[in-house]
Symmetry: C2
Subunit: 381 residues, 2 copies
């Protein structure tokens, strides 16, 4: 295998799916394109197919969040959902609570709405809710204007892999309710867990205050571009008006419905869990072997490792150097919303790296970590 | 057949495809989901699949508009493309040139960007370019600020069905070039023509000044949600950043590529032309028989008839009354951007109707026109 991977670019950069775990959807597509042709090839309704909204409501109910299909809006992936929610809730000059670091692809979505950031810290229990409480109290006291929403990825955070503790979840929703600030719970990795343990959805703790973004990208396949927003029917009705694509693709919606109706979802999720646990273990082992000076927590799910680099190694330099050696990684500096932006204007930390273990095959993970180690030695020399 | 349609709701409202003309795409989907699985079920690149962009560039070149695949951005339908273009070119307070009437679904897209309207008239040759010229000269003279874009549907206008003459096309692009105002050419119906005659694309007359919105919705199937924007690579690069869904669904993109590679597009387009010509003829004949007091031009393509009602019949009332009798139509008042909006604040005309002949079957067209005639007699009595 070494000869296959030797010349090949290895990506630990983006959270793509492992190609060999992608399911065979030909039977679902054939049914969708014959039995359901006049639905799947026609314009679709804006809220999404009723059958899919029912399926999603059932998935949510099984996860502790009871809701009706009318509280589900189908969107073109969770990020599209985030953008629609932001367009409903944010005006230029508003602020959004994010942690430092935060999911880097969300940052430009908030910025495009003209929003600024209130950054709070995070530790091994997730968002530092006490710090947020102090910040909100200060903002209320000074009349500086409260944030318009709180953005959080409670399960297997992207990029740190950390899951928010139950205690913190309860404190966060209580705080948000007290200040009447909606929480956007973005939880794409929730089902990709490697242990039986599972904390409650924020949405189940505070059904009215939490807007949940869900997706089939990690459970079935990213390419289907099917996600959802779970929120009040009122907000969803406004959102549907702003959904300029009209309806989300009815063909891929129906493929998901068929996939779930055939009972394939649990088996696929369990294959995904097994696959990505193996990838995680392989990467952690390789890092301990090749880069013992790097520290990382071992996440219980998701796609990512968050590495703390030893003093003197700059993550931005390492990203470039590793790229030159054929391994794609992301400098942690990309994950700080306040980077070079008012009011803090401080540079983002350059002592972290995010590695995705999802896409590369196990033997590529070994090879890629070896290249990363070589890049680090080169920089340190 | 009369008994089948007697109790059934008949829709002349939206421009849905005729269900029986939708193609069988199962073979294309099977190839897309097997041979191309690691592409079609993975995250896609933002500009779109290279193979699809090449296919689109070829379609455009065959239509007289030479371009490279790098000047093509794949989007989730033409309306999504319009929204992305507007987000690039419009700021709150800007204005957009539209004709009265204009494509009603575009109106909220412009409004959501905070834009106002400069309305110009249209006749049987399309947009009244002389009127636009006088308006632009006045705006330039008074320093009132020029419009930021000109929106036009030159082929088989929605709603009027009228195609812009060559003379007008040349005058429009010359005027837009003179004032440096980009033109958005929205042309979904261009291939659905019932004669051999065809005017040049605005894009072919002024490649640098015209942004073209194209779609496979009318040529293949709306449900695929595959459209494109043809513009300069610079504008497209900015647009790709704002495309919050990441890439458009790679599965439906690949299905379109396979469909075109198998050479099925010309045959499908010619089936569509034949089908909708038959629908148009059926509706025109039924209207002449049942509603001789109504005037309409007979369009050479597209999906719609634009009806002028006799004096004393209010189109808004007729829409409601027809709905109650089981036939869906749209009052022409929906198609005027200036409706109840500053600065004109005048009510929209209520003497027009738009009928779509695309979706209903020929026997339903007869039945639906009969119901419309009954509704009109009821209102007049």
């Amino acid at each position: 295998m070494a000869s296959r991977t030797a010349d090949q670019y290895i990506s630990f950069g983006s959270g793509d799916a492992f190609p060999r775990i992608l399911p065979d959807l030909t039977a679902e597509a054939a049914v969708a394109l014959t039995t359901w042709r006049s639905e799947t090839l026609q314009y679709a309704s804006r809220p999404g197919l009723t059958a899919l909204r029912e399926t999603i409501a059932e998935i949510m109910a099984n996860d502790g969040a009871d809701m009706s299909p009318s509280e589900v809006q189908v969107v073109n992936g969770a990020k599209h959902g985030l953008e629609l929610v932001c367009r409903m809730l944010l005006s230029p000059g508003d602020t959004v609570v994010v942690t430092a670091p935060t999911y880097f692809t969300a940052i430009p979505v908030f910025r495009n709405c003209g929003a600024g950031f209130v950054e709070v810290g995070r530790d091994r229990e997730g968002m530092d809710v006490e710090e947020l409480e102090a910040t909100l109290a200060r903002l209320a006291r000074t009349g500086a204007g409260l944030p318009s929403l709180i953005y959080e990825v409670p399960d297997f955070y992207n990029p740190t892999g950390i899951t928010m503790s139950r205690r913190r979840r309860e404190a966060l929703v209580a705080l948000a309710e007290r200040y009447s600030i909606p929480i956007v719970e973005d939880s794409p990795y929730r089902q990709i867990r490697f242990t039986d343990h599972c904390e409650p959805l924020l949405k189940s703790l505070s059904p009215k205050h939490v807007i949940l973004l869900g997706t089939f990208a990690k459970m079935v396949a990213p390419g289907l571009r099917i996600g959802w927003v779970a929120a009040s029917s009122d907000l969803l009705e406004q959102m549907a008006q702003a959904k300029s694509d009209g309806g989300t693709c009815p063909l891929t919606q129906r493929i998901v419905v068929e996939f779930c109706r055939r009972g394939r979802l649990p088996e696929q999720v369990s294959r995904m869990r097994e696959c990505y646990r193996e990838h995680r273990d392989r990467m952690v082992t390789a890092l301990r072997r090749e880069l013992p000076e790097v520290r990382t927590d071992v996440p219980d799910g998701g796609y990512y490792l968050w590495l703390s680099l030893p003093p003197g190694v700059n993550a931005d330099d390492l990203e470039r150097c590793a790229e030159g050696r054929g391994v794609g990684i992301l400098s942690g500096s990309r994950f700080f919303a306040g980077l070079h932006a008012p009011p803090t204007n401080r540079p983002a930390p350059t002592s972290f790296l995010r590695l995705a273990y999802s896409f590369a095959a196990p033997d590529e993970i070994d090879e890629g970590v070896g290249r990363l180690a070589a890049a680090m030695r080169h920089l340190a020399s």
